[in-house]
């Protein structure tokens, strides 16, 4: 039985694409001798699961380097996954060879971000649109030609553009040609990688509207990858927020925007500038940089920047004390707290350091118990100019002992808006899980 015959018929609203535990780890060095010298593993996508129903639009949002593009390409088997499974219309893609998957590509197409480089400059628009049909031996030559012209009209271009070269078009027009190419084989799924981020705002709206109209007409399923939460809010039905290879939160659009539960989603939403000068002060800021995907943080990957890190069980601090400890931890980690050492090598008496620390970070008094002991030890290290020890100590005791570092969170909680589930990967919501 050939692969195309194995494809199940999927009705609107039924699961079209099923992704389970999908993982992609890259070797940072792939030369002949990589095995000999060893190489670092980039954990681009790690254990991601979700489903897409026919006819819906799911968006993957996240900042650059969060693995959203890799995930999309892994789903389409353009990149071979390290682990996990992808099922498209009931066919396990991950168990099939590239040769077997090729005929299936007719039903899953892709649109690219860069309207400049996604069209072969040496091919005419007509050839570009006909190529997918040709690859799958669809229609006769004249039929293909006619269909290409029809598709041009469908994406609101002119039939006469058939014989022109891509460079004769503007960015928005080229993105429409991209759309026409993706539609040529009448696919079920179209993966759109940042479809409008290279376009001007006014043109963005044109293309987004066209995408929406076409979905209504032909029942396409979109998987949209974007860094722009505004665009996603306009086009998506469900939204998955990615951070460093994990899905942080996945929910229906209204639920995610109006009732975000993951601290990262909250920070991301806070960070978008709102086009209204009257809502200026609402903007919050997330500190720090995204950590490297080589040896990413354990447990919750957002924990190193999370403003609501859960305190380790062994400490028993009030929320205020804990936030002071967090502030102190960050200062030590970034060495923003630098005492005036007398000369090049000499340290300082511990007393001076503790006084300075107390004044700067614990004006209400240092917490006692376990936490107090750790802070004392950190101060001693700083006094002896053993910064590495101090950094290691705060990281180990105040961060890595937390549940956020020891366990990877994966919870589903009831949604306030809409009917769907609300997946949130944050231990803050472990008690709400269903």
């Amino acid at each position: 039985m050939s692969v195309t015959e194995a494809l199940a018929d999927v009705e609107m609203g039924e699961t079209l694409l099923e992704i389970e535990g999908l993982t992609k780890h890259f070797q940072s060095d792939t030369g002949l001798l990589a095995g000999v010298f060893g190489s670092e593993v980039v954990e681009a996508v790690d254990d991601v699961s979700f489903e897409i129903a026919k006819g819906e639009t799911v968006a993957l949002v996240g900042e650059s380097g969060c693995g959203k593009s890799t995930l999309a390409r892994t789903i389409l088997q353009l990149i071979e996954p390290t682990d996990g499974r992808v099922a498209f219309k009931g066919v396990e893609l991950t168990e099939r060879s590239q040769r077997e998957i090729r005929p299936l590509r007719r039903d899953m197409q892709m649109i690219f971000q860069d309207p400049q480089s996604s069209l072969n400059p040496r091919m005419k628009v007509g050839q570009i649109i006909e190529e997918p049909m040709k690859a799958h031996d669809m229609y006769t030559k004249t039929e293909r030609r006619e269909r290409a012209k029809e598709l041009l009209e469908r994406v609101e271009l002119k039939r006469e553009y058939y014989n022109r070269y891509p460079h004769e078009f503007s960015g928005g027009q080229r993105q429409r040609i991209n759309l026409a190419r993706a539609m040529a084989t009448d696919p079920d799924l179209i993966v759109c990688d940042e479809p409008v981020s290279a376009l001007d705002v006014s043109v963005q709206a044109q293309v987004l509207n066209t995408m929406r109209d076409l979905q209504e007409e032909f029942g396409f399923t979109y998987l949209v990858i974007s860094h722009d939460l505004s665009v996603v809010r306009y086009i998506a039905d469900r939204v998955a927020v990615m951070y460093l290879g994990h899905i942080a939160e996945l929910a229906e659009k209204e639920e995610l925007y109006e009732n975000p539960k993951h601290p990262y989603t909250q920070a991301l939403l806070d960070a978008i500038p709102i086009p209204d000068p009257r809502s200026r002060d609402a903007r919050g800021t997330l500190e720090g940089d995204v950590p490297s995907p080589i040896g990413p943080p354990s447990g919750c990957r957002f924990r190193t920047r999370c403003p609501s890190l859960i305190q380790p069980d062994e400490l028993d601090l009030s929320p205020d004390d804990w936030s002071q400890v967090r502030r102190f931890t960050r200062a030590v980690q970034r060495r923003t707290f630098v005492p005036e050492y007398p000369d090049e090598d000499a340290g300082l008496p511990v007393g001076e350091i503790t006084d300075a620390v107390d004044a700067d970070y614990f004006p209400e008094g240092r917490p006692d118990g376990e936490a107090g002991d750790i802070i004392d030890e950190v101060c001693r290290s700083i006094a002896d100019r053993e910064w590495d020890d101090a950094q290691k100590l705060v990281t180990e005791r105040f961060e890595e002992a937390s549940i956020c570092a020891t366990e990877r969170p994966q919870y589903t909680i009831p949604a306030e808006f809409g009917t769907g589930d609300h997946d949130v990967s944050c231990h803050l919501h472990r008690d709400d899980a269903i």
């Binding site: 900042e63 001007d200 705002v201 043109v203 306009y234 500038p273 709102i274 000068p277 060495r335």
Partner: protein
């Protein structure tokens, strides 16, 4: 705080290409007051970057500033006089050497969009900041180094002293942009031109940078010209806004007026076409068509072929750039639209908008 430090009047810059003259900037007037952030907003091709480059006289062949005045605190950066036949630069216009020594860097600094291209990959980050400070301020090598580290710390680079010797590729995009800001601020300029400085950055990083700019601006009192296409960023940080379309400023006013008392159909359309992060919009209203070429701009009002409100006179009459609305604090709110002129706009028939997609 309300002293005008930069005044640009009727600035014109053209590019001479094989296929004709491109009037990239065609009669642009705006000013910048001490300590304010002035936005220059528009889509690509509107002439924003050419405007700022013209202000710093950084236009190169085949482009040329062909008219208008740029006055910076009494010094003439661009100035022409009419000899009867042609416009020639006036004598008091600063020479190239004066521009280099007195204006660029130490009075007016510029931050570009791509921090990787603005930093030399083979020199250390600290060294580049230090060199820039040395060039523009009278500081010895050792002092300049201290100042460089101090500036790096001020812009929020962790472990600034330790990272002084790192190379640009060891910094993330956001950190590199911070380095450029440190570089610009290190020379204590009066005015910083920021050319899409956050466009290449992620939103959370953009948030960090905007907050930093706000803090630093409050501290140093530096003025900014903020070039961007993002209305969200404009709303976030600008005090006054200039909206550009096809080489001209079509609307100019305080930020709140621009957003809440919009006077030009282009600004209006631009605001309607952006998806909102803070609420679900059912239907976006895109601006039809694409921006025409600056080589052969449309007659009359340049926006008329795409304007939803265009009427017959818009085709022929070029609107004047005039005060159109009262503002709360008396600041000017100008727009160039025939709606605000007595030319029979309201009596005329609406134009059919026919555009090529």
């Amino acid at each position: 705080m309300s002293d005008t430090i930069l005044e640009v009047t009727d600035l014109k810059t053209q590019f001479y290409t094989e296929r004709g003259v491109v009037r990239a900037v065609d009669g642009v007037s705006f000013d910048v007051k001490q300590g304010e952030i002035v936005g220059l907003v528009g889509e690509s091709g509107a002439g924003k970057s050419v405007t700022t480059s013209s202000v710093l006289r950084l236009i190169e062949e085949p482009g040329e500033v062909v008219g208008g005045e740029v006055d910076y605190m009494g010094r003439t950066i661009v100035g022409f006089e009419d000899t009867g036949e042609e416009l020639v630069p006036r004598d008091e216009m600063l020479t190239e050497a004066q521009m280099r020594d007195q204006i660029r860097g130490n009075e007016i600094a510029i931050i570009f969009q791509d921090p990787m291209e603005s930093l030399n990959p083979v020199y250390t980050v600290g060294g580049q900041v230090k060199e820039f400070i040395e060039l523009n301020r009278d500081l010895s090598g050792e002092e300049a180094k201290e100042e460089a580290i101090e500036m790096l710390r001020r812009v929020g680079i962790p472990e600034a002293a330790e990272r002084y010797g790192d190379y640009p590729h060891e910094f993330s995009g956001g950190m590199r942009q911070r380095v450029l800001i440190a570089m610009a601020l290190g020379c204590r300029p009066n005015l910083i031109i920021a050319d899409e400085p956050t466009t290449a950055l992620d939103v959370t990083v953009e948030g960090q940078i905007l907050e930093l700019v706000n803090d630093l601006q409050a501290e140093f009192g530096t003025s900014f010209i903020w070039v961007t296409h993002d209305m969200g960023v404009v709303a976030e940080i600008c005090d006054r806004v200039n909206v550009m379309y096809l080489g001209q400023i079509v609307e100019q006013g305080p930020v709140d007026e621009i957003f809440h008392d919009t006077q030009h159909p282009y600004t209006e359309a631009l605001l309607n076409s952006i998806p909102r992060p803070d609420r679900t919009v059912d239907d976006l209203e895109p601006i039809e068509g694409t921006m025409p070429s600056a080589r052969s701009p449309p007659s009359g009002c340049r926006f008329h072929p795409r304007c939803p409100d265009a009427r017959e006179p818009c085709r022929e009459i070029e609107p004047a750039f005039e005060q159109v609305a009262e503002t709360a604090d008396g600041a000017a709110h100008r727009a160039s639209c025939l709606k605000h002129e007595e030319v029979g706009y309201w009596e005329a028939e609406p134009l059919e908008v026919e555009v090529e997609k």
